[in-house]
Symmetry: C2
Subunit: 464 residues, 2 copies
Amino acid sequence: MKCRLGFTENQGKICRFGIGTCSDLPQKLCGVMAKIQARILKGFRDYLPEDMLARRAMLASVEAVFRKFGFAPLDTPALEYTDVLLGKYGEEGEKLLYRFEDNGGRDVALRYDLTVPLARVVAMNGNLPMPFKRYHIAPVWRAEKPGRGRFREFSQCDADIIGAPGSAAEVDILSVGMAILDALDVKEFTIHVNHRGVFDGLLDGLELYEFEKRAHVVRTIDKLDKIGREKVLHLLSEEVGLDSTGLEIISGFLDIPSGDIDAAESFFASMPKASEAIAALKATFNLAEQAGIASRLKANFAVARGLDYYTGLIYETTLNALPDIGSVMSGGRYDGITDMFGAQAHPAVGISLGVDRLFAALKELGTLQLASTPTQVLVAVFNEDHLSDSFQIAQKLRDAGVHAEVFLGASYRLKKQFRYADRMGIPYIAIQGPDERDEGIVTLRCLKDGQEKKLSVDQIANEI
Amino acid sequence: MKCRLGFTENQGKICRFGIGTCSDLPQKLCGVMAKIQARILKGFRDYLPEDMLARRAMLASVEAVFRKFGFAPLDTPALEYTDVLLGKYGEEGEKLLYRFEDNGGRDVALRYDLTVPLARVVAMNGNLPMPFKRYHIAPVWRAEKPGRGRFREFSQCDADIIGAPGSAAEVDILSVGMAILDALDVKEFTIHVNHRGVFDGLLDGLELYEFEKRAHVVRTIDKLDKIGREKVLHLLSEEVGLDSTGLEIISGFLDIPSGDIDAAESFFASMPKASEAIAALKATFNLAEQAGIASRLKANFAVARGLDYYTGLIYETTLNALPDIGSVMSGGRYDGITDMFGAQAHPAVGISLGVDRLFAALKELGTLQLASTPTQVLVAVFNEDHLSDSFQIAQKLRDAGVHAEVFLGASYRLKKQFRYADRMGIPYIAIQGPDERDEGIVTLRCLKDGQEKKLSVDQIANEI
């Protein structure tokens, strides 16, 4: 008789899963185990080797650039006290927290982003040398409605500089961002740069001080590219109730040619907060120009990035070949976020890469190398008696720097070994029969073109 | 007047955190925000740059070896349906799950290990080419009582081969483990190898079939090194109630010289299950011998590894210089685990590195390179007007392969820049004054010995 798991050998003795002796097992428990469906939560993903190899290669490039600019890695826990996260993401954001009571009755939540944990670390480590330049690549969790390209678990990839005010840190963070996009070979891109004070000043100029109305104006202008100028003005009149003076101001704002900081300077002359913002923007553009990194920056006064914690420069990045994919790299200055914990206030500026978007873009641009395995050579096994020869060949190949694996399947039929190499996308297969063994050579077959060469193991490394 | 967060500029307007206008804010909310203590959950850790750089370097070595042997990376979600995890870790294990109801009312839990998610992936992807060799380095969560070296969030680092029966896969997985320990330079180590059937056969020989008693015997023998042979026999008599025949069998078992498979073969001749296990163990040792990797393997019939899902070979690894640190690399064969989901059964064998233990060992052995930053050269800023020169020098250094950062602090006093380099452990500082600028040279100062050299930017890369 078989148990519900299909096991017979332990009948009457120990359950293989260590739950108890078979006879001890309540039928219910066995039933539960036998019926469990292997399934994954909606909005969550497994990364199988092909995707994982390509993603890891992408992130390794990113990391190498971060380090070249002196950013150091940081990691923080997946779980935080809920109150550490509350009050930072707005009401809508807080609804998306994976929040629960842990076994000790603590109110905890899964990390929602990497910025608040950074602020917590800075607040808890008062002796960190400043400026503190860190990068952090890690998953975050948000209970959003899953959809195309929207997941409940996704990776964020942030670099931030804490403790550095002014244009120098902004140019530094924009430089590292550009260097990353160049390293990833995403082709042409544009970083659209704005200053948070521009919208603030504009809204002050409209004498709109109510939070919801301000947000509504910003959201509406944000749709400009999609719905066009006339529709924007119409909505602002209908939905926000802007009068003709207000609409005139907006109209003038929309008339500022994209990229023309001088025109913006004139337009905002009478709005002090906006003027200040334009001056700061100009300073950063000047330094970027002198440092030789300005060619892919463009002032764009319509960039909004929500009404969240930014206090200065803000930026978004579009790929010229794939504008519809949205911003692949965004961020800004957020002086003050570190004092949310009542600790010393520090200036801060950061950049965040859209890992999933960039990965999708690289796939679309065809710049990703796709493979299901790191193996370059499958060392075939002639038969059971020659198994140790195969292990020795594989080890010699590895010593020479080649990624090699011995075929480990149950049967050593050569056809089966070829099929395995083919399905895995392993480019070469090395075979040594008894005669070849006596000669000290190996047949190396390239699976792409079928060409075979008889080589010594040492020669194989050079061949590949 | 300042708000509770210490802000004044938005008074009467928009709260910097986007919660509402200052006047809208209920005092309570402001109070909550102002009072939040930056703190971290017990049993959880931040990895600051110094630890993180060293850990990442360690894991990069590990990953490179996995890949050289043809293991491909896999990743799975942090959250799983709870029933997918239940019934696999025993009652005690299940109590440690971080389990909760998500916003959609689903019963979910944080990943407890990397083995069950692997089994789920294999069950859900029936078309994976076999053998499937994957590695997975990721955090897992267990609500254990935190203590010295015991955390509620910790990284596991596993490699497994699914779909490969027999000694070949076992030798492969032991080889990759040895290559990793060599790559990490942990000095001498011993892999203690046993077969699960040895204990099973011994317990059958004792005619002990009750789960709790079997576990008790194994746990007691597991203490041999600590409490000695006499005490073990005493406890087995007192606590388990073994009679003189039973104690004689155990006594004979303890007399088998460690490493002597032939002696074990004779001892177990009358216990069929144990004999079978010894034969399998012998086959693996023979292949390891022929493949040239046997020198650091040692048969050790006292290795228990709990009464969990293992079905064949089991192993633990001790560092000869640091035996007290416990096993740094363990695993075994666990044929059958993939059929817990009612999917096709596959043979499986795996190895798991103790990341925290290995890291502690490397620290103790002094083989870790500790630094707080990846930066090799701090490019100082002579004054505000020379800022862009510093950016250009840093970029040239990076182009030449040097990790370089521009000083981004608020004041350009040279003393302050030196102090920053010193605190960060940056080995070199590059300074260019106006005269040097005209000459096209830079002063490179080594912070260790205070030596200064006047060099062109191109020469700096060679110097470092």
